[in-house]
Amino acid sequence: MSTKTPVRAAQKPGFRLGQTEVVAIVLLVILLSQRWLLPLLDHDLFNTWGTIFVAIVVQSAPFLLGGVLLSAVISTFLSEKALSKIVPKSPVLGVPVAGLAGIGLPGCECAAVPVTNSLIRRGVAPAVALTFLLAAPAVNPAVLVSTAVAFPGQPMMVLARFLASLITAVAVGWIMMARGKLLLERLTNLGRDVHAHERSFLGNVSHDFLHASGFLVLGAMLAAAVNTFVPRSVVNTVAGQAVLGIATLALFAFVVALCSESDAFVAASFTAFSDTAKLVFLVVGPAMDIKLASMEAGQFGIGFALRFVPLVIITAVASAVGIGWWLL
């Protein structure tokens, strides 16, 4: 769809409608016909979905742009030499360092995906970059503070979330190194965008933004649909069972895709669940959700996402249950 029209349009300027003109005209018609279209779509369910969908996109947009700008700085200005000085040579050591480095990037998970991609482009070992991807949205101060606010009088919840998230990120990094050689190689090849260092800074910004935004929107559409169409009471029906409760909240964290800065408030409202189940919700959500899975499939390929997503979820659940059993 993207290659035919421009060539023809370029050959016969003025005679054919190029893709740009078609898109511009469609947008213009939609904008002008707003008054007539509006009543047709005035339906509670659609409106609620629309509000939540737009809300997720609007909330994520500044973070995505911030992540893209940072990743363009890494791709354009940071030489592999400079980066290799910061990141330990041995990936075995680099993984925990990357996990702790996540403390320094207060932003939501949408920012972390392009940054991770640019780190791989710049020759950082993929396992190290992926650990950073998992740690950054989960262990930064903004998330920990909001957790403390949402769970007043339960400081152990904050500590448990920090430890369980960090352990998840580091464990996934090490597991990928030990077992995922093929997967990591594919990632290295995929990530080696030969053009990245040739592009200008703005070229990298626009390239990365265009590559990530569509997948972010897809993730937001799905998350908004779950949020709108699945009543929370369905989740609450299994609160009494320990194992089922944990599995349900892990699944719910994946599909509802809340920002890591606000998910603690939702977790706190699951009053019927055990604290361990709430911790699972808080650890799985920032590490992996439907929005992240969509962006990772776009950035690293579907084959990679199909293996990486379950690995992260299982590790996160195991880590949260372990820490929850120990601390909560």
Binding site: M1, V57, Q59, A61, R199, S206
Partner: protein
């Protein structure tokens, strides 16, 4: 997707964010502190659009493999980036209201703040109390801090299948995706105002009603006045 269309996609998203954040529109979706990050994002995206339109065509750049210049191809999924803007302009999704509140009505609310509950300020007239605060005050010490006090609750109207109506507020922590509803049943006032309209309900707490108790939190209304919806409908 052609290079110019790519610029259009980025520019459209930037324009939508700018339009939402310069008015009150963004308050339907996110909290008020997001205003300036959104303005900045819109400005940067529009600037990026100008650069994308002005940058040299692929033919002008030295091309290694003979076909389209690099940075040209984007995934088909990028078309979806037009969707949020189209929905904002076409459907203009409103603030979450009675529909969501009614669906979330049965959800448990988070625990009351741990801090010591201060008494309501002394006053001759009714005291303004937030709906959520009224609910947790009702649940603490058998409602001692609101017992026999005239209070005024402001919120929108939601209903249930039994013909009751409620003064309702929705709280968001980050964006509308994490919305939670709190609502107080209005008693002794049969003429329910229009659903989703804003009202100020003056009255007294119905003793014994509290969240999670036998009967949901209720107020015995002495007066109900219509109100303009505030710019920011969330708490």
């Amino acid at each position: 997707m052609t290079r110019t269309t790519q610029a259009l996609v980025v520019g459209f998203l930037g324009a939508v964010l700018l339009r939402l954040s310069l008015g009150d529109g963004y308050l339907r979706y996110v909290t008020d502190w997001m205003k300036w990050p959104l303005v900045a994002t819109g400005v940067v995206l529009l600037g990026l659009t100008v650069w994308m339109l002005l940058r040299p065509a692929p033919g002008d750049i030295e091309d290694h493999d003979g076909h389209d210049g690099h940075g040209h191809k984007v995934p088909a999924m990028t078309w979806l980036a037009l969707l949020p803007g189209v929905i904002v302009f076409v459907a203009s999704p409103p603030s979450l209201g009675a529909y969501l509140a009614e669906r979330r009505a049965g959800d448990p609310v988070a625990a009351a703040p741990d801090a010591e509950i201060l008494p309501l300020p002394a006053s001759d007239g009714p005291v303004d109390v937030e709906v959520a605060e009224f609910m947790w005050r009702a649940g603490v010490e058998d409602g001692a801090t609101i017992k026999d006090r005239d209070v005024r609750l402001t919120g929108f109207v939601s209903t249930d299948e039994n013909g009751n109506w409620y003064v309702t507020r929705i709280a968001i922590a980050c964006c509308a995706a994490d919305a939670s509803a709190s609502r107080v049943r209005v008693e002794d006032y049969d003429d329910a105002p229009e659903r989703d309209s804003w009202v100020a309900v003056t009255g007294r707490w119905v003793e014994g009603t509290a969240p999670g108790g036998k009967s949901e939190t209720a107020i015995e209304a002495s007066s109900v006045e219509p109100r303009e919806a505030p710019a920011n409908t969330y708490q």
